[in-house]
């Protein structure tokens, strides 16, 4: 499967990945100019944390082999697709119980900001060749590789 790799030492905290992700998932259009940066419904599925040494750490979903989010999901909304390797999220099935948010050990997940009804979950940009976060990363701190599971 394809996985987004992270070289944290190259991250400059520019938030390019965050913008790319927001742009990709913006219903009003995918261009960066379509992205209203004051509209709270625009949210990214990745984020950058600062570690205790103030280094930026990009956190992007792993689509784990044994995904805690899917194991914990009681509605069948979060599932591991054994063919693509992706952990897929179906918002129509989701019961917004947030067990996945609680269970992801890597703190990747969160509820949507405004309605708190759906999970902000990486979909690898519909499995396209280069996900937008990778495309928007100027330092190549994010890049994709094929990995064996």
């Amino acid at each position: 499967m394809k996985r987004i790799m992270i070289d944290k030492d190259k991250c400059m905290a520019c938030l390019g990945c965050v913008l790319g992700c927001m742009a990709e998932h913006n219903e009003k259009g995918k261009s960066i100019y379509d992205l209203d940066l004051e509209d709270r419904t625009n949210e990214s599925r990745n984020h950058i944390e600062l570690d205790h040494k103030q280094n930026p750490i990009p956190i992007v979903c792993r689509h784990c082999q044994e995904p805690e989010c899917a194991i914990t999901c009681m509605s069948g909304a979060m599932t591991k697709n054994d063919e693509t390797g992706l952990v897929e999220y179906d918002k129509d099935k989701c019961a917004a119980c947030f067990m996945c948010v609680m269970s992801c050990p890597y703190g990747v997940l969160k509820p949507d900001r405004v309605n708190k009804e759906v999970i902000m979950k990486c979909d690898m940009c519909d499995n396209k060749d280069t996900p937008r976060c990778v495309e928007f990363c100027p330092t190549k701190a994010l890049y994709t590789v094929e990995v064996m599971e």
Partner: protein
């Protein structure tokens, strides 16, 4: 065996150039755009602020305000005004030097080549009596006096230079500029840390700067230069890399200040210089035009047939020009002199001399120009040209692209030469517009950049689309450098125009795209517009005239843009000028401004939809005029 790979380089409307650059062993802008392809979204939207130690602050839905409380509107307006301010400062620097040169030319009884223009200005400025030199001194002084006024004192010449209805409107809006340099100064104050937070006030200040930029930096620079360097005359000329003749000692000039070469261009064709050149095996000296100052020489080419080999291309051809190996010396005085030319010059042993420290290049020798020292400087340049030619020519290989450019680009068009061409009045052009044979006028101006499709791609495509719709195109700036090299300013280009425009062009033997020369000539376009409006008894916003700086590049272009908006003209940009992160700034510039000055900003990165919008504006203005 090493494989020669075609490097990934930028698209260009100029395919010969594109292929030439792709094969080069040098790193150019066309290469680097590929490695700078990932752009910061905050930068693009203008919502990054690093005016204080708490920054950089960036606006996101999670963080809608900077640490200080600045909103996206404040941040965007501040960034935008700073850019316009810097651009305005650049043009004011140019007019300031031109005015000093004119004043000294008068004082030292130097040659006055444009006597008509001198008299025109003297009359406009109400300078009575005195000889040519005395008038030149007084004109120079009047300009300088205005530039140096404090902010609270209105510049005197504004009322004389501006079209009357515009002046009144600006007065109502409170955007008449005080001393131009002071306006720049206070704008910097305004946009510093935790000062002005009012986006509308800052946008009005940008318009104020636009007025002094346009009337002084653009219009007056042209006029002062015409006095010193000669008035443009319409003539066909060679353009592109074909203007290079390797048999000469070639001096490439880059910048915007033609008057700084006033002495040199005579000295290079002196008996002395020719003899010195022959001693090292060259036929003589040639000035090779590059960037806007090259367009300036081209515009006045009638007066410099001997020394000026022709204009090679815009800023994004300058690296390639040096890479041909035919350039022996680069003489620069302003932008757009890319830092990228330095390593290529070094590699090819090309001497670099800079004569104005505002454009000092790291690898260039700095020789401060002054009117007083002009003779010594010219001698030094000749000496260094000889030295360079002698030193390098046997060591480097000349590599010229075949068939680049053409020999029949129509040049030398100005507000005065065009009027003369039309028979002493703009009436015939107005008749064609009224009759609908020409739908309207588009000023395609500004720069060249490597975005919006690639080098000159949007500019060329939009121009083609407009002439196809019988809209005549006037071009000034690096845009014309691109348009002429692809042949759109040659008479044969009439074939690309709509039937009606085509037959007019063919009848007159002119191309459908008229070459006004450098970006400074945006001031000449304003002069044309003013004349058209005056004949029709209307204000500028009523004209079936649109402006587009499709591939704007720099802060100067934004100051030009502020002028266009103050004039009340619709202005199109393909790439948004880093403002879309603010709803207020975007709304004011794209909508509300129409109520204030009549102008508005149109941002569109698609050629066809842009052409549709611009054509519709022209049609609706025709409609409003009842034509």
């Amino acid at each position: 065996m090493a494989l020669k790979m075609k490097a990934a380089t930028c698209n260009s409307a100029d395919k010969i150039l594109e292929n030439f650059i792709a094969e080069l062993e040098f790193d150019t802008c066309h290469h680097r755009i590929e490695t700078q392809d990932i752009k910061c979204g905050f930068g693009l939207q203008g919502v990054c602020c690093k005016l204080c130690a708490n920054g950089p602050c960036r606006i996101t839905p999670d963080a809608p305000k900077g640490v200080c409380g600045a909103t996206s509107d404040t941040i965007v307006a501040r960034n935008f005004l700073r850019a316009v301010t810097a651009g305005s400062a650049c043009y004011l620097h140019i007019v300031e030097n031109a005015a000093w040169n004119l004043k000294e030319t008068g004082e030292k009884k130097g040659e006055i080549k444009g006597k008509n223009t001198l008299n025109q200005l003297a009359q406009l400025f109400e300078i009575d009596g005195g000889g040519y030199h005395q008038k030149a001194v007084k004109i120079g002084e009047k300009v300088l006096e205005d530039l140096y006024k404090p902010r609270f004192k209105e510049m005197e010449l504004v009322e004389k230079l501006a079209y009357e209805p515009r002046y009144e409107r600006w007065q109502e809006l409170g955007i008449l500029p005080g001393g131009a340099k002071s306006e720049v100064f206070d704008s910097l104050v305004k946009t510093s840390t935790n000062l002005n937070s009012d986006p509308v006030d800052m946008l009005l200040h940008a318009l104020n700067l636009g007025i002094s930029t346009g009337l002084y930096g653009l219009f007056l620079t042209n006029k002062l230069n015409d006095i010193m360097l000669g008035e443009p005359q319409i003539r066909p000329a060679s353009v592109g890399f074909k203007v290079l003749d390797p048999d000469y000692i070639n001096i490439m000039i880059t910048g915007h200040q033609h008057s700084l070469f006033s002495h040199l261009q005579e000295a290079l064709v002196s008996y002395y210089a020719k003899e010195k050149a022959k001693e090292v095996g060259a036929k003589g000296f040639k000035l090779v035009g590059s960037t806007c100052v090259g367009q300036d020489l081209q515009l006045r080419g009638e007066h410099y047939q001997d020394v000026f080999s022709g204009h090679s291309g815009n800023n994004f051809t300058s690296e390639a020009l040096i890479a041909t190996g035919s350039i022996d010396l680069v003489l620069s005085e302003f932008n757009c002199t890319f830092p990228g030319i330095e390593p290529i010059s070094e590699e090819l042993m090309v001497k670099m001399i800079c004569i104005d420290d505002v454009a000092k290049k790291q690898k260039a020798e700095f020789v401060q120009y002054s009117y007083e020292d002009r003779e010594n400087i010219s001698l030094y340049v000749i000496e260094e040209g000889i030295k360079s030619y002698k030193n390098r020519r046997n060591k480097i290989k000349i590599n010229m692209p075949a068939n680049h450019g053409n020999d029949d680009t129509l040049t030398g068009i100005s507000e005065d030469s065009l009027r003369e061409f039309l028979g002493g009045s703009y009436k015939p052009l107005i008749d064609l517009i009224v009759a609908g044979k020409i739908k309207g006028i588009a000023g395609i101006v500004g720069c060249s950049n490597l975005v919006s499709g690639g080098h000159d791609v949007f500019t060329v495509e939009l121009t083609k689309e407009l002439i196809k719709r019988d809209i005549i195109v006037l071009s000034a700036g690096c845009s014309s450098g691109g348009l002429e090299n692809v042949g759109l300013m040659s008479p044969q280009a009439a074939a690309l125009a709509g039937d009606s425009l085509r037959s007019i062009c063919e009848q007159l033997g002119i191309p459908p795209v008229l070459n006004f020369g450098p970006c400074l000539s945006i001031g000449r376009l304003e002069a044309v517009a003013k004349e058209l409006a005056r004949i029709l008894y209307i204000d500028l916003p009523q004209l079936p005239l649109i402006l587009s700086a499709p591939q704007w590049l720099e802060e100067q272009a934004l100051a030009d843009g502020a002028f266009a908006l103050a004039l009340g003209l619709p202005l199109h940009l393909a790439k948004p000028p880093y403002i879309t992160g603010s709803k207020i700034v975007t709304k004011v510039l794209t909508e509300d401004l129409e109520e204030l000055t009549g102008g508005r900003l149109i941002m569109d990165d698609d050629v066809l939809s842009t052409a549709d919008k611009l054509e519709n504006i022209i049609l609706s203005k025709r409609n409003a005029l009842g034509i």
